[in-house]
């Protein structure tokens, strides 16, 4: 039985209960999603043993035979990502306990629905179901991005909405074409039937699905909406979006490319090219930003470039490195956005210079941002280093030029990280209101810092995790489990 899958139900229930409870009093509203995410973490931990033992576990909705109903599949990749997602979800919900004080019922409902959407994508084995949960994820994040309703977030919201729904429509068109040609929507069934289908249709369907997913993951040609969306959204939402929302897109891409289409080489080379492009462009754009949130947004684009490049290498080591970097980046980016959130909590604007003289930061905020920046740049002793080192080694085997580019981008990452760190944290001995961080904001930062250092100091965990995850990317194991 896949207990982790019930976490989707738990988040759905928490979203609805917050609405009900909000009728009586707004005081108890935040407690429900926080409790729900704790339960979700527990459920995911319960699924770990048998997934890591069997490699992949299948559960069928109401026991129809495999291709008829919707099959729920949990393999090592999806369970690890689900575990990291639920832990970060808990931390983000805890962080926003004091951060959002108005209209909190709607905020918590939408946020827990967003997490339900992500978990739904991670566990589903059916491509149309993945489309539906993509929609759940995006519609709830449209509302969240425009939550503050001022000029910036509204413009960001409408732009994100239009781009997002074009992307999901392309995804649906791709699925429709696949159905037309093979007659099934179950991913394992598709993987079996696609090789027998000749002609252009699978290629075009894959192209459509890839554009849809690449747009959701904010890769180079479609990264326009990311900076505005993260700037407009409240900081915990940007942390959730960049930490978890984008990763669902990457997971879906991995699932489609590796399992359904069995990783054709053209696609991998394209991933490589787009990865390198977004790596460089993201880093350069981030360098030129003076707005804290936009800088973090562009750094997300560049880190996604790393992931795409690593996977695009095609070698086993490359995929393992890319998967590990997904996990590491989730943790680092959430830490960075949350620590930026603590700074922005009292600051009136997001411009780095103005923040400096309005907020006197506490040591915890300073160190959390510093550790985040160092981990992002892949400095040893931090978890970023482990995955970046694997990426350097993997890219060196394939094409030394790539390693040079990767190293240069890491240097640029370090540069803009420290620039922001200096501007916001170091240069404000002057006045500025003393920020007293409530406990609910301190715990997430401390926990995330602990995880980063733990994974950094003991790299074996990361490497073992990477091997286990990349083990689940071979189609034969997946189709064997699903179709029996």
């Amino acid at each position: 039985m896949i207990y982790g899958f019930y976490a989707v139900g738990v988040f759905l229930a928490s979203a609805f209960l917050t609405g009900l409870v909000s009728i009586k009093s707004d005081r108890y509203v935040p407690h429900i999603p926080i409790a729900a995410s704790l339960v979700a973490v527990l459920l995911t931990i319960m699924t770990l043993p048998d997934v890591f033992f069997w490699g992949a576990v299948k559960m069928q909705m109401e026991e129809w035979i495999a291709p008829i109903g919707i099959s729920i599949v949990a393999d090592t990749l999806s369970v690890t990502l689900a575990l990291v997602t639920t832990v970060i979800a808990f931390l983000i919900l805890l962080f926003s306990y004091r951060y959002i004080n108005r209209n909190s019922a709607k905020y918590y409902s939408l946020l827990s629905l967003m997490f339900a959407g992500v978990l739904g994508i991670l566990y589903t084995g059916d491509i149309f179901n993945m489309f539906v949960f993509f929609e759940v994820l995006s519609v709830s994040s449209y509302g969240l991005v425009a939550f503050y309703r001022n000029r910036v977030s509204l413009e960001a919201g409408i732009k994100y909405l239009i781009m997002g729904s074009v992307a999901t429509s392309m995804l649906l068109l791709g699925i429709a074409m696949l159905y037309g040609v093979t007659g099934t929507v179950n991913m394992a069934d598709l993987a079996l039937k696609l090789p027998f289908v000749g002609g252009m249709v699978p290629a075009v369907a894959l192209a459509l699905i890839m554009t849809g997913i690449a747009l959701k993951a904010g890769i180079f040609p479609f990264h326009a909406w990311i900076a505005d969306a993260y700037e407009g959204a409240p900081s915990p939402v940007s942390a959730a979006l960049s930490g978890i929302g984008i990763k669902a897109g990457v997971y879906a891409m991995l699932r489609v490319v590796f399992i359904v289409f069995n990783a054709p080489t053209i696609v991998l080379d394209m991933l490589l090219v787009f990865g390198v492009a977004s790596m460089l462009i993201g880093a350069l754009l981030a360098l030129g930003q003076d707005n804290l949130k936009r800088m973090l947004a562009y750094s997300s684009v560049s880190q996604m470039g790393y992931i795409f490049m690593a996977i695009g290498l095609g070698t086993a080591l490359g995929t393992a490195a890319g998967l590990l970097h997904i996990v590491n980046h989730m943790i680092i980016k959430s830490l960075l956005f949350l620590s930026a959130g603590t700074v922005l909590w009292k600051a009136k604007s997001t411009n780095m210079k103005e923040i400096a003289n309005t907020v006197r930061t506490t040591p915890l905020m300073t160190y959390s941002f510093l550790f985040g920046v160092l981990a992002l740049a892949g400095i040893p002793l931090f978890n970023g280093f482990v995955s970046k080192w694997l990426i350097y080694v993997a890219s060196f085997e394939k094409m030394p030029l790539l390693t040079v580019i990767a190293l240069v981008t890491s240097a640029i990452t370090l540069a803009y990280g420290l620039k922001a760190f200096y501007a916001v944290f170091l240069s404000n001995e002057k006045a500025g209101s003393k920020v007293v961080l409530p406990l609910s904001m301190k715990i997430p930062l401390v926990v995330l810092i602990a995880i980063i250092i733990l994974l950094g100091v003991i790299p074996q965990i990361g490497i073992w995790l990477a091997e286990m995850m990349s083990g689940s990317l071979n189609p034969s194991l997946y189709t064997g489990v699903v179709l029996g």
């Binding site: 139900g9 759905l12 229930a13 609805f16 209960l17 609405g19 009900l20 909000s22 009728i23 909705m61 109401e62 026991e63 019922a105 709607k106 409902s109």
Partner: protein, 132 residues
Amino acid sequence: MDLIIKTTSRILFPFVLLMGIYVALHGHISPGGGFSAGAIIATGFALLVIAYTEGDVEHRFTKEELVDIKAVSGLILLILIISMGFAWRLELLKTQFPLALWSGGFTPLLNVAGALMVITAIVTIIYALVKE
């Protein structure tokens, strides 16, 4: 909106409602079902909301400030019904009780729940947009 539209919409509304309920209940035999029934009834409400300025429609809904919370919670109850059905069915209680009268096993129940769900959602959205 002048008198003619008001009276016609008032007269028309019960028939739209009846049609919607019929479609919802017979979802498993005739075409249509949860979603189309919800859409039909929601257009009935939309007819009323547009025909009347919100002043008169107010008495259809509870007091002003409760409306948005009530709407949200209204949705919740219905989703709970559906998710209950989904969760309950997950336990594979496939007792296929062949209700002679209904000749449907489980689908009519869900059809009605789905229809209610769609009605509440669309009506609340229309109401919010019109009130703005």
